[in-house]
């Protein structure tokens, strides 16, 4: 059948070709040509017979820095490795294991740390092949130097680690912002992080003042102090160094040599004095594109950007922008909060107006009356100077008293920036009770106070803390409007509780429904005809701003208890 013949013909052809190939190979082998593979291989090849080197190639001599083939063959295998391999095993032990594997499987490939004759170590990839010879097993050892590959791997992992560290650093700075760490600390950390990414580079962040005309210090932990101080407060403009110009133009300004660049004409002396030569500045923008400040990279030698810095600049300006915007929003909020607190204070003082007038008029009444008496005495023929002096002394002391009352009230009414200081809650409570004494009398309320002695101090703003207490006490008095006059009692206590200092104001008013207790703290919630409904909301935000809590609960004996707690400082104040 022609089909079968046609199929058989190519197979026969192939077999013939194969035979020819084998004959040619046998010829090559017999002539020893392949021995050159051994001799000229760039990999080191050694033959090991029963633990002794019997042959090696030139590459082996070269790789191990041996004087010659003879020297190499005179060595024992243990001379070619350090005592311990990088994985911690003894080289001698590991060699035995590797050989065992090779004998079992026929060959075995693994990485090894080898040692040159001069003692230097280098990584190799080893291929062990077992060769049967006269009923023995000869081992063919092929070493390939993998120093370069290892080096490249190390470089790669190093740059990956650096990248990871840089990202982690960015995360840490963002976390600081979220935690409300001060802006100068945040920016200093950011600058230090960026500087760590490139050798010889010094960085700074500057802010643009609120009026948009002046430079304000931001962070420059590694720039010379004299330079930082000179720049702080300097105006921005079209020719005002790198940063002042970058903020003015709203675009990056690259100055490769500060001593020759016209933008630095007015500041070159400062640059020289500070040992700075190159300054590349990039503006920092808000999300809406308004300039907030600038980020700058400085070098001590003239230098132009290589392009690799652009990513660092991008990260720095982005994070600095977030930090500065966050700070400004925070300040804005603080300002609004303190304005609101002030309004609430003034409103409360308005409610107290009658009592305040009473308290001030008390000494004024005596002053005016005594002065009148003195005047009429002085018109008499014989003046009893001793009498006059006594009356004048009384006038003076009442004058002081009136002024103290007024300054006490003034401190509550005037605007001020809240400031934390260590305070004794019992003292503050006493002051507030004195302030509302007349008001309580007018409303026929008796105030009982149980104030803890030697309580630890709390960190808060005096005026704001007085305001909170004043608010709670006034609310308590108001709450008993419909209570029988002989039951109108307000109890004010201060004490320690679970490491906090606590103040509690209990009234005997109508009380609060537990379900509605939280509603009381919502802004504009009011039960009073003339109230703003801000008192409790503001009081709570004040207490929370000092790390404390403010809450309301029902009084077991009828009425309500309003309490707040503030963290106790470790040492008490005297």
């Amino acid at each position: 059948m022609s089909g079968a013949n046609q199929q058989q013909a190519p197979n026969q052809q192939k077999a013939r070709e194969l035979t020819q190939l084998r004959e040619r190979a046998a010829q090559v082998w017999s002539e020893g040509a392949l021995r050159l593979v051994f001799e000229r291989s760039p990999d080191a090849i050694l033959l090991l017979d029963d633990g002794v080197f019997i042959d090696c190639n030139e590459a082996a001599v070269e790789m191990l820095h041996a004087v010659g083939k003879d020297e190499l063959l005179s060595l024992s295998p243990s001379d070619l490795s350090p005592a311990i391999q990088p994985d911690g095993t003894l080289s001698s032990t590991k060699v035995q294991q590797m050989i065992a594997v090779a004998l079992e499987r026929g060959s075995h490939r693994f990485e090894w740390l080898a040692k040159r004759r001069n003692g230097s170590e280098f990584p190799v990839e080893v291929l062990l092949t077992a060769i049967p010879f006269q009923e023995r097993q000869i081992l063919c050892v092929i070493w390939r130097d993998i120093s370069r590959r290892k080096e490249a791997e190390r470089e790669l992992s190093k740059s990956r680690e650096a990248e990871d560290a840089f990202r982690a650093g960015q995360g840490r700075v963002l976390e600081m912002i979220a935690q409300g760490v001060t802006l100068s600390e945040v920016l200093a950390s950011l600058v230090t992080l960026i500087e760590a990414q490139s050798e010889g580079m010094i960085c700074s962040v500057l802010q643009l003042s609120e009026d948009g005309k002046h430079i304000r210090h931001g962070a420059a932990p590694h720039l010379p102090k004299i330079y930082v101080e000179a720049v702080n407060g300097a105006p921005i403009g079209p020719k005002n160094g790198s940063c002042g110009t970058a903020m003015y133009r709203g675009e990056p300004v690259i100055v490769t040599d500060m001593l020759t660049d016209p933008l630095w004409e007015d500041y070159s002396e400062l640059a020289k004095l500070s040992g700075l030569r190159a300054c590349w500045s990039t503006p920092i923008f808000t999300g809406q594109g308004k300039v907030l400040g600038s980020f700058a990279m400085y070098y001590r030698e003239p230098q132009a950007p290589t392009g690799s810095e652009s990513r660092l600049t991008e990260v720095a300006t982005h994070i600095a922008g977030i930090a500065i915007e966050h700070e400004r929003a925070h300040n804005e909020l603080q300002h609004t909060r303190s304005e609101l607190a002030h309004v609430a204070r003034v409103t409360t003082m308005g409610e107290l107006a009658a009592s305040i007038a009473h308290e001030v008029n008390q000494p004024l009444g005596a002053i005016v009356g005594n002065a009148d008496i003195c005047l009429s005495w002085l018109q008499e023929k014989e003046v009893d100077l001793k009498q006059v002096a006594e009356a004048l002394e009384d006038i003076a002391s009442d004058g002081h008293r009136a002024s103290q009352i007024i300054s006490r009230i003034r401190s509550l009414v005037k605007k001020h920036v809240p400031e934390k200081s260590p305070l004794n809650l019992s003292d503050i409570t006493r002051e507030v009770i004195r302030l509302v004494g007349h008001e309580a009398q007018r409303k026929q309320v008796t105030i009982h106070s149980q104030l803890g002695e030697s309580l630890p101090a709390v960190e808060a703003d005096r005026v704001q803390l007085q305001q909170v207490l004043l608010n709670l006490v006034m609310n308590g008095i108001e709450a008993m409007h419909e209570t029988d006059a002989n039951r109108r009692q307000l109890t004010v206590r201060t004490m320690m509780s679970d490491g906090s200092v606590l103040a509690a104001v209990s009234d005997r008013g109508t009380g609060i429904e537990p379900a509605k207790a939280e509603q009381l703290f919502k802004p504009f919630h009011t039960t009073k005809a003339g109230g703003l409904g801000m008192g409790l909301a503001i009081s709570r935000s004040i207490i929370e701003s000092f790390g404390g809590k403010l809450w309301a609960e029902s009084n077991a004996g009828g009425g309500a208890i309003f309490s707040f707690s503030l963290p106790a400082r470790s040492q008490e104040i005297q």
């Binding site: 009473h358 308290e359 008029n361 000494p363 004024l364 005596a366 009356g369 005594n370 009148d372 009384d394």
Partner: protein
Amino acid sequence: MTEKPPVVIVVDDDDSFRNFLSRLVSTIGLKTVPFDSAEAFLAAPPPDCPACLVLDVQMPGLSGLDLQRVLTRASRPLPIIFTTGHGDIPMTVEAMKAGAVGFFSKPFRNQDMIDAIKEGIARDRETRKQLDELAEIQARYDSLTSREREVFAHVTEGALNKQIAHQLGTSERTIKAHRAQVVQKMKADSVADLVRMADRLKISPQKGAKSAP
């Protein structure tokens, strides 16, 4: 017997204000009796001389207005002059309605206070005179027998002897004798005088009858 010198009682919780009032009162040659609270004043014996009270409206404990309410119920209501650091209209109205001599907001003119004190003392002097007279009439009344008191009551009601005799179940002559006795003991000039005395004593026939032993 000459009258005892008048005093000004000052009730105020403010030390310096009390001192000032003492000084002011001394310029018109009077003495003050100071108290720092309404309670302290109530605990002390009442003055047995013409007096007036200078009272602070707002004090811890009993307020000035509270004290006024207590005093108006007394047999000899002392004239009160109020002082206050800050007075409002309802407070002033309440005080004045209850018979206060004056109501002063601090600071005030010394002369106004002196005038008020003088008026207060004059009022108290008058009250004391009235009370003395009443005590005298009461003493005379107390000297009447129970029958005479009955007759006294009926006479001041305007009843005729005949009517009284009928009422008390006795003769007109007997009544006539009692009546002469009453007029003499009460030192009355006329029936009209007797009526005035009865009025002061708040005597009526029923009361007369009831008070009979």
